[in-house]
Symmetry: C2
Subunit: 358 residues, 2 copies
């Protein structure tokens, strides 16, 4: 099998003979059958586990293409304003290509720990004395006025690369599913999946299109509220975005597909997060669990037909955000004497999970 | 392609028709060409990136088989004494099978944060008032006297599952490499790879056998020193083991294959760790980098022929141990005014990594 999305899906991507064969083996992520939840909910649920990507999130699919095209077009440096998955991914692929990655962040507003993944991949960090919007505006201007390439979500190659996840879902299932449920933050990913599903359908590779169901976090639900959220707040940091860049295309994806965009509370997100880890054995970022939380909400509303084939996208690896895991679960080890019989008695007693919840 | 090591390599494993088809899509991990290091060292270097496994380490290969066999044999609970990758993996597969996972740890000697991955997967934690050796002794006794299955490394299915990584290396390269370099802690993994390479060779699937080169951390180098290390110390926590369980088979693997077991310093480990993340774009656990550090040491000694095909095993995901990353790199963001020209000037100046090293 060819490795990486450029080698595998090049005929669907804006690549040329001159595009570098860049890959860190992104894509080809597992589609894991959620056997517990399928049985509980009477549906056929699959999890697209994007945390298996090289830097631990779906961003790698778009970033490999954005960086390869930047190099093809003569750029020797990329720039972004990001403190999370985007900068980690940009730094990994940039260093692989031997070019610079510059990350601009607002000084004093960012926990440096969030940047450790980007920094370990060799990113240069510039802290400007302003806020995040100002940092973003500056990197946009710099990309316009110099040969440094912007790899924030406005870079069109990002969506192109990300759509390959929809191809993989169809390739694996033999067709598109009935429903695709996905977290919505900046709204680029739902737009990318919809693009991918439509392209496969137009080429006759799949016979149908899924209903696209996107879920924002309630405290950052700009699309659901119909207005920009000035101070977005949610435990799901990866979708804590108050003004989604791909707002319109996301709304169109939901409308065209007969789907919806709805919101879920932090409580619902964390319940799904614990359920996925504690029953399915899949540990994702809190934001990822918004897809499963939203699905559950609409199953309870009676919107999802029994037996429906559903794919929930889990956008990032749980190891990305261990502090949320630690806060969401209260570890309560049972203290016992150092004695075989005492331990055996504890083992044979009622099993008790080491934390509250699930 | 079949998913998981039981489905893919069942004919080489002790499975029956009654073995559950358990998988979290472990295995099938990337073999990434290390283009920078290959050029620098004049060899053909590939990285077997085991951090892509479902819980982020190679342990998943052995654990899926250990848990599946436990269920096949009627067990409804597994037990281990572990605070790291083993317990995380055991908990994920156990919860997937709907059975209990009990983790016994020494009370007060373990940072609970280390257990978060196991706990989020529903493990029950028992803290005994003793040390680690006592905890291990207790779980051994309990497994002997009850129907709870021990999944620590003495469980023979662990090595069986782990040998599939050697099959994958041969499948991907078309034959065994010249040299296989691997971190050595408990010494089970080098033993497993060697078993896998020999089985493929005996069956005529590969035409040759690699030299097995294992590397311990200097502060925990029991095999190299020839004696148990009472108080092992190294930054590479995943191989901080003073009395390897598979000591003898590891020594045999090195001897039979014409390889070696050597040690590397923490400094050498961290240098390789930074080099992998900062130049190849691959972020691994510190312990994983021992394989590359050891290879470098022997390249400098002149032991490695020019052009040799080498596979270095990277056993775990860098996201498992972000605190080491943060300590190994000193993040130094450059503070500048919030002004496009100031940022552009910084960008156009000499690129400066945000941390010392590499």
């Amino acid at each position: 099998m060819k490795e990486g999305i450029i080698a595998r899906y090049g005929s669907f991507l804006p690549v040329t003979e001159k595009t570098p064969a860049l890959t860190l083996h992104e894509g080809n992520t597992p589609l894991i059958h959620a056997s517990h939840l399928s049985e509980k909910w009477g549906i056929d649920l699959h999890l697209k586990v994007e945390g298996f990507n090289p830097t631990g999130s779906f961003k790698d699919r778009g970033m490999v293409l954005a960086i390869a095209k930047a190099v093809e077009e003569g750029s020797r440096a990329v720039i972004c304003a990001s403190t999370g998955n985007t900068s980690a991914s940009a730094a990994a692929f940039a260093t692989r290509m031997g070019i610079r990655c510059i990350v601009v962040v607002p000084d004093g507003h960012v926990a440096l720990g969030k940047l450790s993944q980007a920094v370990v991949h060799g990113a240069e960090v510039l802290a400007v004395e302003g806020n995040f919007d100002q940092a973003l505006e500056i990197v946009r201007q710099i990309a316009e006025d110099s040969d440094v390439t912007l790899v924030n979500s406005v870079n069109p190659y990002r969506i192109e690369g990300q759509k390959t996840a929809a191809f993989e879902v169809c390739d694996r299932l033999g067709d598109a599913p009935d429903i695709l449920a996905i977290p919505v933050g900046n709204a680029g990913n739902i737009s990318a999946y919809w693009k991918g599903f439509k392209e496969y359908h137009e080429q006759g590779i799949s016979s149908r299109l899924p209903r696209m169901c996107g879920f924002e976090a309630e405290g950052a639900a700009a699309i659901v509220r119909g207005e920009r959220v000035e101070h977005p707040e949610t435990v799901a940091t990866a979708i804590r975005i108050g003004n989604p860049a791909s707002w319109e295309t996301a709304v169109n994806a939901a409308k065209e597909s007969g789907g919806l965009i709805d919101s879920v509370t932090d409580e619902e997100i964390l319940e799904a997060y614990r359920e996925l880890a504690g029953n399915e054995g899949v540990f994702c970022e809190p934001a990822s669990a918004a897809s499963v939380a939203g699905l559950k909400k609409h199953i309870q509303k009676g919107d999802i037909p029994t037996g429906a084939q559903v794919v929930c996208v889990l956008t990032g690896n749980g190891l990305k955000d261990p502090s949320t895991a630690m806060e969401a679960i209260e570890i309560k080890p049972k203290k016992i004497p150092c004695d075989k019989d005492a331990v055996l008695k504890a083992v044979q007693g009622e099993g008790e999970r080491a934390y509250e919840g699930v």
